[in-house]
Every structure is written in C-alpha cells, then in structure tokens.
C-alpha cells in the first residue's frame, strides 16, 4: 500500500468533516462553532481535491477555488457578526441567542 490512493484522502476528509459536525453540535461557544464550520468546509475541499487526483480531472480543483472564495466571504460576515455579539453580551453562548424563536 505504498501508493497513496484517493481512498485515503476521502477517509481523511470524512474524518475531518465528522469532527467538524460533532464539534458544531456539542460546543456552545459561537467562535468554536464557527471554526467547526470551517473544518467541515475544508474537509469538503479535501474530498474535492482527492477526487480530482483520483479521477484525473481538473474540475474538482476548480471547485475548491470557488469554495475557498465563498468561505473567505463567509468568514468576513460571520466573524463580524460574532464580534458584534461578543461586544454587546460578553461570554454569550449560542444557546443564549434564541430571540428569533417562533
């Protein structure tokens, strides 16, 4: 098994994605949750790159660029929101922010 097949990349991607997902569900700090989302996004990126490598198709790597751009934009907006909330209510957890409940 000296050769590095796409399968390994996918397994790693699945592992990172699961860590991100579970982290999102179990942590209450908005900043940590935010980082978990980033983990999940990058796991998907890894899967894209791995598949591009396995299938020898450049399309997967192109998709990654798009994901990275969107993720960067998302970080800007998301972090801004998190910072704004933290300024107002120090030490807030995600569960405290439930004013939009029906």
């Amino acid at each position: 098994m000296g050769e590095l097949s796409a399968t390994w990349y996918l397994l790693l991607s699945a592992a990172v994605f699961s860590i991100g997902a579970v982290g999102l569900l179990v942590r209450r700090n908005p900043l940590i949750m935010f980082m978990c989302v980033e983990l999940m996004l990058n796991a998907v990126n890894l899967a894209f790159v791995g598949m591009a490598f396995g299938l020898n198709d450049i399309g997967g790597q192109v998709a990654v660029f798009f994901v990275m751009v969107v993720a960067a934009a998302e970080v800007v907006v998301g972090l801004a929101i998190v910072v704004a909330i933290m300024r107002r209510r120090e030490g807030t957890t995600a569960d405290d922010l439930s004013v939009l409940r029906g």
Binding site: A21, L24, L25, L97, R101, G102
Partner: protein, 729 residues
C-alpha cells in the same frame, strides 16, 4: 352635425356638476334657471343631431360614436360610446324637450322650498342618466343610465324625507327595482356568454344565430328588468307610492321618461325578441294588457288626484308592453311619445291644482275649479280627451294602433288581447272623466265639511248643551241651599224666586240636550253628491273647515302654465306623427325603420280597421257618458263603481307586504343565518385552520441554532442513507 350628440348628455352633466358645487350659493331662482338652461341646451343639441341624421342617407342612419374604450379585458371589451340611430334620436328629442318644459315648471312649483338648489341638482343628474340610458351603444352603458335614473328616482321620491312616508316610498321604489335589475344583469351576462359582445349593433347583427332557448332566456330576463322599471305586474307596486315626490318629478320621471325605459330596452333588442319562442312574446303581451286592465280598475276608485294618474300610468305602460309583445314596436314608441305629452300634462295640471289648493290632493274636496283655474282646466281637459281616446287627439291614434296590432296577431289569442285592451280603454275613459268631473266641474266643495267633521260638530253641540245642563243643575243646588239658609221671611221669599227661576232654566237646558241628541240621531244623510250639512250644529264645525272656507283657489304663475299650454298643443297634434290613413303619413314608422328590423306588419283590411276604430271610439264614448251620468248628473250611484276592493288595489299591495313581513321575513332570516353560519363559517374555518396549524408548527422554531444544526445533520444523513440504499438495490 351628428357630433353634437356629445353635448346632449354633457350639458346636463355640467349643469349637475356646477349646481353641486355652487348650487346653494346661487339660490332661488338662479339655480333653477341654470338647470333649465343646461337641459334646454341639450334639447338644441338633440335637434342638431336629428337634423344631422336626417341629412344622411336613409340606409346610413346608424352611427356609432365611441368616446373611449372603457373596459378592455381580453375577449371582453366595453366602450363608452353612443349609438345615434333613429330610435335613440327620437328618444332624446322627447326626453330633452319634455325635460326642459318640466324644469321650467319646477322653477315655479318648487318656489320657497328650502332645498331648492338640491332639487335641481337631482333633476339635472336624472336628465344626464336618462340620456346615457337611451344613447348608450351597449347594454352596460344603458345599465349605468338605468341605475342612474333609479338612483335619482329614489332621491326625488324621498325628496321631502323628513316625512317617514316619503322616505319609505323611496326605499320601496329602490328595492322593488333591484328585482328587475337582477334580470337585466343576468341577461347581460347571458348575452356576452352567447354572442360574445354586448353592443347593440353586434346583438342586432348576430341575434339570428342564437338558439331559440337562449333568445327566449335573454328576452324574458330583459323583460323582468322592464317589469321593474316600467312598473308591470307584479313589480308595479312602487309606482303608486312614488307619487310622494314633488309633482313635476312624477310627471318627468314617473310618467314620461324613466318608466318608459323598459319599453325602450325591449324595443332596442327587438332582434332578440324576434328569435325568442312565440310563447315568450305572447307572455309579454299578456302581462302588458293584464297590467293595463288591472291598473285601470284600481284607478276607478282612487280619490287622491295623483294616485289616479299613477295607476293610469301603470295602465298605459301596460299598453306599450302589449305593443312590444305583439311586435308592434312603432306603436309602442308612438304611444310612449304621445303618452309622455298628455300624461306629463295631466301630472303638471294636477300639480297646478294641488299648488292652488293648499297641497290638498283629495279630489272629493275639489269641484268647480275651472272657474278659478281656467288655463289649468282647459289644458287638463285637452289631456283628458287625449288619454280617453277621443279623436283627433294624440292618444286616440297611438292607442288605436296598439289595439289594431293586437287584433292583427290573429287567432283567438289576438282577439282576446284586443278585447282586454278595449275594456281597458273604456275604463280609462271612465276614470279620467271621473277625475275631470270631480276636479273641475260641479259644485265648489272645498269649504264643505267632511263626514268626520260633521260628526265632530254634532258631538260638539251635544257636549256643549250637556255642559250647560250641568251648570243649571249646580245653580239649582246653590239656590236650594240659599232658601234653607235664609233667616228672615223676606230673604226666604227672594231666594224662593231665585230657586224657581233656576229650576225653570234647568228644565229648559234638559229639553235642549234632548233636542240636540234627537237632532244628532235623526240628522239627514245627504244625497250622493250633496254636501254634508251640519244643520244647527254649524257653529261647532272644527277650525279646519273654517280655514278651508277662507281659502281662495288661484291660478299658477306663468312658469307653470306655459309648459301646460305647450304640452296641450303637443297632446292635440302629436297624432300627426303617425296617422294611419296612407303609407305616406306613417312618418314615425318610416323614421324608425332602420332601427326596427323585426316590426310586425299589419295585414288587416281597411274595412276592419275602420270598424275597430269605430268600436274603440264607441268604447271611449261609453266610458265618458257613464262618468257624466254618475258624477255630473248624479243619476248613477258612484259607490257602485268605487268598490272598496278597488280602492285597496285588490289588496295586492297589502298581501305582498304581509307576505314579505311574515313568511318572507322568516325566509330571509333563514338565508341570513345560512350566510352568517355556513358560508361565513366555511371561510372563517379555513382561516382559523391555517392559524392553528401555524401555531402548532411554530414550536419547531426554538431559536436554538444547535438544534437546527442537528436537524440538518440528521436530515443529511437520512438523505445519504436513502441514496446509498437506492444505488445498491
């Protein structure tokens, strides 16, 4: 020249708008003159339009003038436009002409009314609506005018609305007309659904392709509309009550113009009537002639001068509907025009009488008025001769035309229609003669006491003598006491003399009471036509009698008599429009020909025509003669004709009211309940179901971001599992 048609409705509309804004500032009589000027200008424009149409080629006398496209909606399109053709021009000529005269008359009649300007606002609005009704080039514009005249009719019937009676008469007219309007509307829908257009030109052009069933349906529905507006049985109920309005309004709206709208409408769609089943048009004819007879019998027993004319109008409208039913549209329009002249004249004449008699409308108190109101009397007599069918006055020619057309439909049916029409003519002559004789001839009766007033006088006399007897009795008692209390013989003697005098006075008073009672019991019942005599009780008559004795009837001012004279002129000569003798004299028929494709053609021979005319003249003469013997010579007892059942209009009105107030009311209550609970219930249930469902689903929105994330995760996993299972299977 036909472009002048735009000014015909425009001028009354401008008059209405101006008066609405500045009317009350203009006041009396400027507001009245402005309104008269507006409708007068409209009349001139109508004459111009007529000349324009005359100058056109005979085959080219149907002109459509589109103002703008009003409702463009897919296949459905309605224009605001005018149809200028011989029929509509004939209508606008007499509507504006008559309207001008009645506006002028109103200036005098409404003198001193506190809502003087408002009256003319309504009157101009009415003129505008009526002109839209007859000029509209499609059913919808006509319907707009139809509703407009109905609204103005309501306003003007309840013009003196502070009296509860007038206000409810207006409501009655409005509500009754709704029934007819329903027919009109459904007919309009049906026309669009089958023909695909509601313009008159299209209807006339494509009516031939309608199936008989549809044509019958449209014809009958429009007839229901006509029943309401033209006051036919069973919807005539509102017209007699409509007399609560000012008399010029009765003349203009409820005799000459608005009530003929139904006849006009049926004439306008003669192509549809032609395609309808025979039984439908026959039904129209029978409803018309039945109403004519029914209303004529009621008119015989009315004592209110305007009620007689109201029932007479219902009856004459019945004639026109009869003419429409037998396909004699020219005769219908002819009678509409002549009737407009003489019936407006009758109403205006009665208005002049009422004006001169202190607003008393009871004909039993009139009599001998020709000496006081010579112009009113002379013109009224002309109108009477016209409506009674005396040649050569206008009414004779048009009524005879209708009777002839009825006869000419042939068979037993035609003969029966003719016979009922003839009996109605006889009754018409009778009740109109009765009215004229009671009002203008005989003894002046206004100062005569009523039956009730005489009774009151007698009880007054008996009461007064009883009172003086009581006084005498107390005097006796006082004198007796004085005798007993006397001390000396001289005083006693003097007191005894007093006592004797008092006793004598008491017995005298007692005998006076007995005489009064006896006289009250045996007072003479006057011969028919003789005045009630109060006899020795004359000093006890109520003050109203004295007030009436003080009253002096007077002729009306020139604004009122001038229209009377003009209308009297028309009532004499309007027959010239369509003399029956030769084809060349059928001016109206030739004129209307382009608009009436399906006119019934008379086939009866000349000899029969003459015979029928002579019989009609004889019927009129009999009616007048019987009335003369009854009301002038007093050889016949008037009570024989004035039956209570007739005075109560065959109890039809009361039956309808009782039904509507009783079972009808409960039915409507039930419908209201159904609407409030079932219909509204279903709507409300749909609303509250959505609301409750939303409340339930709302709980899922907890506001916890992580539970949303969990949901998304589980959902994704579920989707994934589903895909994988699908691929592997």
């Amino acid at each position: 020249m036909t472009d002048l048609v735009y000014f015909v409705p425009l001028l009354p509309l401008l008059g209405f708008a101006t008066l609405l804004v500045v009317g009350s500032r203009l006041g009396e009589p400027a507001a009245g003159w402005l309104a008269t000027l507006a409708i007068g200008g409209s009349f001139l424009a109508a004459v111009g339009t007529w000349i324009g149409l005359v100058n056109r080629d005979e085959d080219d006398r149907v002109v459509e003038k589109i103002v703008f496209e009003w409702v463009p909606a897919g296949r459905f399109s309605v224009d605001v436009g005018f149809l200028v053709d011989p029929l509509s021009v004939a209508m606008i000529l007499f509507v504006t002409g008559l309207g001008t005269l009645i506006h002028l008359y109103s200036i005098g009649y409404m003198h001193g009314d506190e809502n003087y300007a408002k009256y003319f606002v309504y009157l101009n609005l009415f003129a505008f609506s009526m002109l839209m009704l007859v000029l509209g080039n499609n059913l919808l514009i006509t319907f707009l005018g139809w509703e407009g005249v109905g609204l103005c009719s309501y306003f003007l019937i309840s013009f003196w609305f502070t009296d509860e009676k007038n206000a409810s008469a207006g409501k009655k007219a409005f509500v009754t007309n709704r029934v007819g309007d329903w027919g009109f509307m459904v007919a309009m829908f049906l026309t669009f659904a089958t023909i695909g257009s509601i313009s008159y030109v299209d209807i006339a052009g494509t009516a031939g392709q309608l199936s008989t069933k549809v044509a019958t349906g449209i014809a009958l529905l429009l007839f229901i509309g006509a029943m309401g507006k033209s006051a036919q049985f069973p919807l005539y109920l509102w017209l007699p009550d409509a007399m609560a309005g000012p008399t010029p309004v009765s003349a203009l709206i409820h005799a000459a113009t608005m009530v003929t709208a139904g006849v006009y409408l049926l004439t306008r769609v003669n192509a549809v009537l032609y395609e309808a089943s025979g039984w439908a048009t026959n039904l129209i004819a029978w409803v018309g002639v039945g109403t004519a007879l029914f209303a004529a019998t009621i008119a015989v027993a009315q004592n209110d001068i305007k009620k007689v004319l109201a029932y007479s109008t219902v009856s004459q409208l019945g004639y026109m509907i009869l003419a429409v039913g037998v396909g004699a549209y020219v005769a219908a329009i002819f009678h509409m025009i002549t009737h407009a002249f003489f019936k407006a004249l009758l109403f205006l004449g009665s208005g002049s009488v009422i004006h001169g008699m202190d607003n008393d409308q009871d004909m039993r108190r009139y009599g001998g008025l020709k000496a006081f109101m010579p112009i009113t009397a002379a013109t009224f007599i002309v109108a009477w001769l016209a409506i009674a069918g005396v040649p050569p006055f206008a009414g004779f020619w048009s009524k005879d035309e209708i009777l002839l057309s009825a006869w000419d439909t042939g068979g037993l049916n035609g003969r029966l229609l003719w016979l009922v029409g003839l009996i109605t003519a006889l009754l018409t002559a009778f009740y109109m003669s009765r009215q004229v004789f009671m009002t203008f001839f005989g003894r002046y009766r206004y100062a005569d006491p009523d039956e009730d007033e005489v009774t009151a006088a007698w009880s007054g006399l008996v009461g007064a003598s009883t009172e003086s007897l009581e006084l005498a009795t107390t005097t006796v008692a006082a004198a007796t006491a004085e005798v007993e209390a006397a001390d000396s013989p001289e005083e006693k003697a003097a007191a005894s003399v007093n006592l004797d005098n008092a006793i004598a006075a008491e017995s005298e008073a007692r005998s006076r009471v007995e005489t009064a009672r006896e006289a009250q019991r045996t007072r003479p019942i006057p011969e028919s036509g003789e005045p009630n005599d109060a006899g020795v009780a004359v000093d006890f008559l109520p003050e109203t009698v004295l007030a009436r004795a003080e009253h002096h009837p007077h002729e009306s001012p020139w604004q009122m008599t001038m229209p009377l004279v003009v209308l009297a002129g028309f009532s004499v000569v309007a027959g010239l429009l369509n003399l029956p003798f030769t084809k060349g004299l059928h001016f109206l028929e030739q004129w209307l020909e382009p608009a009436l494709a399906h006119e019934h053609v008379i086939t009866t021979g000349a000899a029969t025509k003459w015979l029928l005319a002579l019989i009609a003249i004889a019927a009129g003469a009999v009616g007048i003669a019987v009335a003369f013997r009854t009301y002038i010579q007093r050889r016949l007892d008037a009570d024989k004709f004035e039956r209570p059942v007739l005075a109560q209009a065959w109890y039809y009105d009361r039956t309808v009211s009782d039904f509507m107030g009783g079972p009808g009311r409960r039915l409507f209550d039930a419908i209201t309940w159904f609407d409030a609970n079932v219909i509204d219930g279903a709507v409300n249930a749909a609303g509250s179901a959505a609301s409750r469902g939303g409340n339930f689903v709302r709980r899922a929105q907890s506001g916890f971001v992580r539970s949303y994330a969990l949901g998304m995760s589980l959902g994704s996993v579920a989707l994934l599992v589903w895909f994988v299972l699908r691929i592997s299977s």
